[in-house]
Every structure is written in C-alpha cells, then in structure tokens.
Symmetry: C2
Subunit: 398 residues, 2 copies
C-alpha cells in the first residue's frame, strides 16, 4: 500500500518521464473569444484531446508503470462507469496488464462498451456506485490484484500533476490556473507541480453547484458535470487542496451549459460538463487575479444526446433559437402570409409544424409551430412584436 | 497581377516562414477508432483548430505578407460569406491592413458577424454569390485595392501548401493523404509540397457528390459540405490537380454526416461538412493505398443548428436514437405499464410526449411518442418487437 502523502515535485517529474510517449502532451489554445469576453488573455489546456478523452490516463499510466512485474501480472481492478474506468482499461492494455472494471447494473451501454473497447473485462455489480466499489475491492483482495483508486493515491496525483509541468512550459507567463475539482486528484496534482516551481501563481478550483462539499455546499443532485459529481473528495486530496489552492468557487449547470456551447462554437472543441466548469467560472467572473489565465478542460466525454440538449438550450438562451406557436385562419395562403412576415423580419426558418387537429381549437383555426434561427434576444423580441402587431397571437416556447 | 503558375517548393517553404507565428501549426492526431475501422493507421490533420476555424488563413496571410506597403495601405477586398471571408478579415487585421468583404444579401447574420468581429467591413450586395463577386471586383478596381481570390492565386496556393510541409515533419511515415477539394487551392498546395519531397506518396482528393465537377459529376444542389460546394474550380488549380493527384473520389452527404458524428464523439473535434469529407472517403473505403494515411480536416465552421440535425440523424442511423409512436387506452396506469416494458428492454427514455387531443383517434385512446437512447439497431428492433408482442401498435419515426 502506498503511503498517503502528497507527491513531491521530483515524483511528478518522474511521472512525466514515465508517461512520455504513452499519454499525450495535450495542446494549449489561446482563445480570442474568451480573452475578449473576460478582458484577460485566456489559454485552454485541452485534456479533452487526451487519450480516452480525459486527463485520467495520466494518473493510471503512472500508477501501473510503478507496479512490480508480479503486481502487473496479477492485474488491476477499479470501480468506475466513467473516465477513470476507461483510463484504467486503456493504460492497462498499453502496459500489457489485465484490467477488471466494476460498474453498477444499469450503467448505459455506451459506457460499458467504451471500456470494453479498450480491452478491459467489465463486471456489472450492485445497484449503486458504492456497491460496485465494494465488489471491486473484494475482488482485488481475493485475487491479490491492485485496486486503482481514482484520486486518493499519490502516484495517481503525481500523474495528473504532469499537466502542471506542461503548463509551465507551454504558457510561461500565466498568472492564474482554473481547475475543476471532483475527487480532487487533478487539482491536487496540478497545484502541487505549479506551487513548487512558480509559488506566486494564483490557483483556483471549481466545483459544480450540485456537488460542492469543499466549500460546504450541496452534495447531491443531478448535474451536467457528472465527471466532478463526487460526494466525498479524498482525505489526502482535501488536505492538499487546503494547502495549495487560493480559492474554490462554484458554477451552476446553466453556466456550464453556456460554456460548453461557446467552446464548441468558438474553439471547435467538444468538452464535457466537468471539463467546461473552469471556463464557466472564468466567464462568470468568479476566478479573480489579473494576468493571463489557463482554464483546464479536463475531458470531452459527453453523451451526444446530452450534448444536443445542451446545444439547443444554449442557442435558445442566447436568442439564436426561437420556437413559437401562433394560430392561423385555416384557409389557403395564410401560412404563406405568416412566413413572408417572418422573412421580412429576417427570421431563418428551421421547421414549420402545422397542426389542424386540435380539439381545443375552433375548427376554422389551425396552429403553427415555427422554429427559427435568430441573431440574438433583441432580434427575437422584434420578430415577436412584428407578428403581434399583425394580429397573430404568439406563444413563445423557447 | 501575379502570374498564374504553380508555386514551387521554395515558394511554399517561403510561405511557411512568412506565416510562422501568425497562423497555427495545427496538431495531428492518430485515431484508434478510425485506424480500427479502416484497418490502417489513420492520422487527422486538425485544421479545424486553425485560427478562424479553417485552413484559409494560411493562404490569406501569405498573400497579404507579399503585398507592397502601398498595396497594403490600399486595403484588400474579397467576396465570400464563408471561411475565406473570415480568413481575409483576420489576416488583414493581423497585418494592419483594411479589409472589405462582399457577401450577397440574406447572408446569415452569424456569418456576417463572424467576419465583422475580425475587424473587416462587410458589404451586402447582390442576390447571388456571383453578384457579390462582381461588386467586389468593381470595388477593388475603383479603389486600387487588392482583390484576394480564394484559390486561383499562386501565393494563396503556396500558403495552403504549408500544411503539406507540416505533414512531412509530423507524420514522416505516411503513405497516403486525403484532401477535400472545393476550389482546389488546398489540395493543390498540399499535393505540390508533398510531391516535391516525397514523390511516391499517394495523394487523393475528395469532392462532395453534389459538387463534383472534377470527375464529371453533378455541379449544384444542396450539400452539407458547403465549404467545398464550388461549381468551377480554378483553371490553375484544376491543371495542378490533374498533374499531382493520383485520384479524385466522391462522398455522399450521408457519409459526410456519419463522419462528422464519429469525429465529434471519438476525437472530440467539431468538424464542418467539407472538413469531414476526407474521413468519409476513408470510411467508405474509396481512398486506396495501404499504409498510414492522413485525412486533412479542413475546417470546423459548422452552423450549430445544422450540427444538431446531423447529430440526431447520425444517432438515429446507428440505432442510438429511437423515436416511436404508439397508442394507449386512456386510463390511469397505462403509461406506467408502457414505460416499465421499455425499461425491461433497457431503453433509456429521453422524452415522452403524450397527446390526448387527436381528432382522428378514438376518444378512449391517447397517443404517446417516445424518444429513446438505445445501444444499436438490433436493440431497437428487439424493443419494438417486445412492444408489439405486448399488443402495442408501433410506428417507428426515426
């Protein structure tokens, strides 16, 4: 059992040598849009472009590299339906070790298959994550396999800390770094590496409002930032974070959603909820500090159906989507009259649904639902006003 | 006026020095998923992560760098509602030159604003692209400004060719390169650079089925690959492409859509239709050759509402989305019975729409539309069969 102490700078540097050529050195992008929106130079550390789509492989590769040949032969075990499970599966395969990943029953097939595709054996056990975890621990003990914790492990923390070393080279003049916090391994590792080399840096952690145990906030609920929805950060990571962070701030799901959409549109990067939390905190002006800032985009594994909802919602909020219902006298030419008016107002029609069958409508009227692509909220307001001025009753749906 | 001859390797190397530190050296990603699907190592050249979201800035920066101080002071002019217009706006601003971009009336506001945000002056003129182009040419002549053609210009071609030089360094062992063709500037530049250094490389161009003039195909229609929907490639570029390409293949919008969705899910990259055409050709096994292959992702500027439709469509095709309608006897508990059956079959409910008001339904029945997240087509078929076996009439919508 590894002693639970914070890894030193030397241990993080050793991790960097171990993961070289296996995990990717991910790129950093300076973002004109985010710099303009926040009034300071913004750099994005794209761990969504890491192997398996998240930073977790760094810790997993480092941990597995440190196993003895006997331990490696006995295989590794963990419990995770998410990024950590996929990272362990991938890192084990790269090292030629066997991996068993435990997940609760009813884990979405997409996640099970992603883990299997990396060559791991998956075990569906228990109704909750805690039950799957207990099964994984039992299994590791029975088989003398190594249980690989997602964050409460100094070798895993050292692996995640390699991001900090990369940032010191890639963005030499940064003043602030913003890091999402779930279990705390990522933030611990990055902050330890940076504090050791550049003690004056401002280091800020971000939690999702639904899971903010480190600031005495809520610990439970549904959030779009699944990857940082951790009820209990580790003892080791919590004590490290108390030492090395300057501040921990929280962001709402609404703020995270908007960050996801902006990242997608402006930087062409797909970022999951947890990964966009750092950008959300920046945009909400909660980060503090002044100079150049790095936002760590921790991962990109967002369910595509969730991404679709987030995009639709984000576009509606910014007035880019307008869904409205109105009524027409049911005679030829009325729909064309309505659509001409919409065109005059420069509304870009995406879909028209025409309902004639409503029982609660007078038979001489029909209902039309229009989905329009608009410029912004002011454009939406103007278009609705124009329809109303022409006698159309308008119900705005989105 | 620049003489219309193919740029030499030396001119492309000079372009590389000129654009260094202004345009980005974009990263190359090896993709495990695409390598598995195609049976050969696949590398993706991510020009979607280029400044302004597409390769076009390379040519624009090189062209503007070659202007005399007098020419630069007189400003640059072009006609484009897309990537070229944004690239010229951006490159002109970086060089401290004034840019005027002509677009037809009714250009979507998002495109006008993207161009304005880079500091250019936009002019909406004419009903068609051809009319906007004529206005831009007139304007350039009147003001003695430089008209910047999107592809029929050796300095622009040399700029795009820098991608080829980067690939020779980034992926030394590639055997084949796949490049989208619209006007032909991108493919000409890359192919000239690579032919000069590595004459044995296989170089394949890709056109969208709706605009395939170079292979005697259709030239017109609606396509998702807007960026390569060019009716008439240049004379210069066409003659270069005849010399340097081994083959030109075409891909359908359906194939491009699926490539967009896979790129988004597996590589976390947002890629526009034209940009995904190279990957689509690879996945359709139309590229030929054997060894490691590079697919050039030419850009990432896809309208978010279009991206949403593409994602929904892609998820439906692969059986990940199932939308179905069925009918219930309208009494308490019937909806729960239906949903329990869906849960038994592991369907993941995304939305339930319950319509009671249909005039064409017996009053004791109501209609339910379910949107479900599924594993694959076989899973969809099994769930529909289970519902039907339990007496539910099922109409599959997607």
């Amino acid at each position: 059992m590894t002693a639970k102490t914070a890894p030193s700078l030397e241990e993080i540097q050793a991790a960097q040598r171990r993961i070289a050529g296996i995990a990717r050195v991910t790129p950093v992008y300076s973002s004109e849009t985010f710099s303009r929106l926040t009034g300071r130079p913004v750099h994005l550390k794209a761990e969504n472009l890491q192997r398996t789509g998240a930073f977790k492989v760094r810790g997993a590769v480092n941990k597995i590299a440190l196993l003895t040949p006997e331990e490696r032969a006995a295989g590794v075990v963990t419990a995770s339906a998410g990024n950590h499970g996929q990272a362990v599966a991938w890192a084990a395969r790269e090292a030629g070790a066997h991996a068993r990943i435990f997940m609760p029953h009813h884990t979405p097939m997409a996640k099970i298959e992603a883990t299997r595709n990396y060559g791991a054996q998956t075990h569906l056990q228990g109704e909750t994550f805690e039950e799957a975890l207990a099964a994984a621990l039992d299994h590791a003990e029975e088989r003398d396999a190594t249980f690989l914790h997602a964050f409460e492990d100094e070798d895993v923390i050292a692996g995640q800390g390699t991001i900090g070393l990369e940032l010191l080279e890639q963005v030499p003049n940064f003043e602030t770094v913003v890091i999402p916090i779930g279990g705390g391994g990522l933030a611990s590792g990055i902050a330890l590496a940076i504090r050791a080399v550049k003690p004056e840096a401002r280091l800020v952690g971000v939690q999702a409002a639904a899971y903010a145990p480190l600031v005495g906030g809520r610990i439970g609920g549904v959030t779009i930032a699944e990857g940082i929805a951790v009820k209990h950060p580790g003892e080791l990571t919590s004590s490290i974070l108390r030492e090395v962070l300057d501040d921990i701030v929280i962001v709402s799901d609404e703020e995270i959603s908007q960050a996801i959409v902006l990242l997608l549109e402006r930087t062409k990067l797909v970022v999951e909820g947890a990964g966009a939390a750092s950008v959300a905190a920046l945009l909400a002006d909660r980060v503090g500090g002044n100079g150049p800032v790095v936002a760590v985009l921790s991962g990109g594994n967002i369910d595509p159906t969730l991404l679709i909802s987030v995009m639709r919602h984000g576009l509606s909020l910014s007035g880019r989507y307008l869904v409205l219902r109105t009524r027409l006298t049911d005679r030829p030419g009325e729909l064309i009259k309505l659509l001409s008016l919409v065109a005059d107002e420069m509304g870009n029609v995406l879909s028209v649904e025409h309902h004639r069958e409503g029982m609660d409508m007078p038979v001489i009227e029909s209902e039309v639902e229009l989905t329009l692509m608009m410029r912004d909220q002011a454009h939406c307001t103007a278009l609705v006003a124009a329809l109303e001025a022409n006698g159309y009753p308008v119900e705005r749906m989105q």
